[in-house]
Symmetry: C3
């Protein structure tokens, strides 16, 4: 499937409506979503929309009750930051690949086309699925050769924030072959007015959040008093990153897609390769607040901020809040 086809699909009106309905049916706190749906809100989103963090939802077709996604792995010249172009590998022409968001209980199918100059395979990290769909070449399936495709199919029963990635070797994955895999639970999803993801990369593309290095990282928007959900995903391929948010603290509410029995508050969280965390932040102050890796060489040079840095632009609350926050 060409990149062009992907772009066309993203504006397909029928699909957009269908997806909106499905998201509403999935119980993503539909009423609060409608209430929050001001011009600057990122919820709900349709396939192809920018999710407010530089990533986009993957489109799909429904065939016989199965959600069918197409992922094409191919080489790409990718601008990590202004003038800094690297040789990447990408699914559907973006780093990271499109956000795959499905509902608990969905049967999903992925047609993976290998247009790389080398073999590949795709692993669905954190999923409980049949062994032959696990995507480990040489163990659960043969390698997918250049020009060939492979079809995965499984039922989405592992809810929460997960990710998908090449399971071939770290160099291939580090070039960009990864993306967010979000299974919305039927009940009890994390309630938030904003839903962002930051996928942390530290491989051949340099230090990147969602495929970009500061200052090219997407600025993130929020308002004082909102619940802001951030899905942190350690894509590696090599390092552990202490992710720090300025302006107070956040609450860690889930790890590897599973709710913490006792959420914990902190301002700096270790995110290792392969781990995901859902954190919720309620900004208390207007202003520009950094979120960054606290290993200095991953976020700063002698010329200033670089790499694993994004900026939250926090605006005043949309409505009057009953109590002052942050005193």
């Amino acid at each position: 499937m060409s990149t062009e086809l992907v772009r066309k699909r993203k504006v397909l009106p029928v699909l957009t409506v269908l997806l909106s309905v499905l998201i509403a049916l999935a119980g993503v706190t539909a009423s609060s979503v409608l209430k929050e749906s001001t011009s600057d809100s990122v919820l709900p989103a349709a396939a192809g929309d920018d999710l407010g963090d530089g990533t986009r939802l993957a489109p799909y077709e429904v065939v016989g009750g199965v959600k069918v996604f197409r992922l094409r792995a191919a080489p790409l010249s990718w601008e990590v930051s202004p003038g800094n172009v690297r040789q990447a590998f990408a699914y559907n022409g973006t780093v990271p690949g499109p956000v795959i968001r499905v509902n608990e209980g969905d049967t999903v199918r992925f047609i993976v086309q290998n247009d790389l100059p080398e073999n590949t395979a795709l692993h669905w990290h954190g999923m409980d699925l049949p062994n032959d769909q696990d995507g480990v070449p040489g163990l659960t399936q043969p390698e997918i050769e250049p020009g060939q495709s492979f079809t995965y199919e499984w039922k989405a029963i592992s809810t929460g924030t997960h990710w998908y990635h090449s399971h071939m070797h770290g160099d291939q994955e580090g070039k960009g072959l990864y993306g967010s895999l979000e299974v919305v639970p039927r009940l009890g999803d994390i309630v938030a007015a904003r839903d962002y993801r930051l996928i942390i990369g530290d491989g051949p593309l340099g230090f990147v959040f969602n495929g970009k290095s500061f200052p090219a990282t997407a600025p993130l928007r929020a308002r004082v008093g909102e619940r802001v959900r951030i899905r942190l995903i350690g894509a590696g391929p090599e390092m552990i990153h202490p992710i720090h948010l300025h302006g107070g603290y956040f609450e860690v509410v889930a790890q590897d897609g599973r709710r913490l029995p006792v959420p914990q508050q902190m301002d700096t969280l270790l995110v290792g390769v392969g781990q995901t965390f859902d954190i919720v932040w309620v900004p208390t102050r207007v202003g520009k607040w950094m979120i960054h890796c606290h290993i200095f060489s991953h976020a700063e040079t002698h010329h200033g901020m670089a790499g694993l840095v994004s900026i939250f632009n926090v605006d005043p609350p949309a409505v009057g809040l009953p109590l002052p926050l942050g005193g």
Copy 2:
């Protein structure tokens, strides 16, 4: 003590019976152990038996009510993976050293013989013991010189999964001078049908689980629906490893031998040098499921899987289970 003597001891019938009785008395869920004791079960084990993960229980003698272990440190040529032979240091001729498993309340004695070409000392990591038994050369004892021995004696009151290792310097420890130290509590041990350990090494022997690199790592067996306990031990000497299990999630139930007040579910766990974790996994699907470090260069090369990788071979349940697992 020669390696030969160790082998002879392992078949000493009296000792075997004695140990079995002691394990039963220790309350290691004796009834469920007997019920589970099919040919592929690893519980209970006698001294010298392979514990199903490539490690073996240390033999001991009871002298005046004290359990006496002999540990001989000596150089060794050690095959890490087929054809990959490294110069190792080992206790009793194996990397890791033998698994020391005792009961809460035991008085234990260790006669450590230094047949290395350099000084050494042995530390009992995580133990509450008299200061002069702590094994820190230059602080709590003199260094043990080549050809000399040193005797440690203490009472085992720190229950759970711990480890022992050379406290001399990282190069010596990294060559293989470490092993699992398991103190079975009188009451309330973690209940499991399988009891495995994976000691993570990243020193002069390369990236090793229990002294071996994939594909030489011991394959691990389990059945759908069983509670499988895995004791993860970060032996280092240098790195932090995010350990990932395919096929769903596990539950972290203890850290450094101490039960977590609130167990937590995840699929990837950071294990730093010196840390131990007890995790419990209940497989839901038949098949070959990887457990591996998720730092790509620790588990893969361009030629495929390598280093910190083991494979769980999950068979169907031995008996019919009341409910489908994994849907």
Copy 3:
């Protein structure tokens, strides 16, 4: 402000009395403090006093109800261990900078004088404060040029253990521009007979606890049965350290200044750059117990212990304890 002035201030009797009163009023378990206040106790402390760990409390003046601190950043030759002198950057002539300890609700002002040969800025890590006081040059304020000063002012509402540091780049911070920032809560502070801090550095000064490498690290005192609080702060600028305590286990009671809803016991704790942890240890045995990073190359060489190592000297209890500890 010269170093001399700082020394003079430390003996200012009025200030000393004032500080003692303030600490008592802050509810730092005043009665138990008085009871514990034997000659070897570190509580309470006055500005300039050694806190028992090699650090000293920052002096301040009260001007119109505001606590005013002066921090002067300047180059310094700093002896990390005997004969090992490095070119450091320091606040007020010490690495780390003085301990800033204030009470919840205090309005605080910091006059930062830049006597470095390069630009700087100072960040109050973990504080909920107005955006223009956050100390991020190029985002929330201009860089402070050599010879210039900058004044920060904010209200201390984020309680617990935090830290302050240069937010310029890692090399500058790693040279020593950091210190502990402790906001004593009005109610419910962590109760302890001893209150130590270990700030972990791994930059241009080498591996240092509170600016010193073993054997120059400050020996720490404690008695059997006491509650000993240790504030661990990961100053980096680059690494994650598994901090291990010999002689049993400790309890992690707070992270990034926020109390853990469920404290957790362990003997080895990962401390990443930017993180703080409050741990409480109750020694059970007399003797010399190490606390150290368990990455071997950070704490040992072939010539013995070095770098990130401190020694607890544990004495017998001051009074008879009702029950034996540690059996």
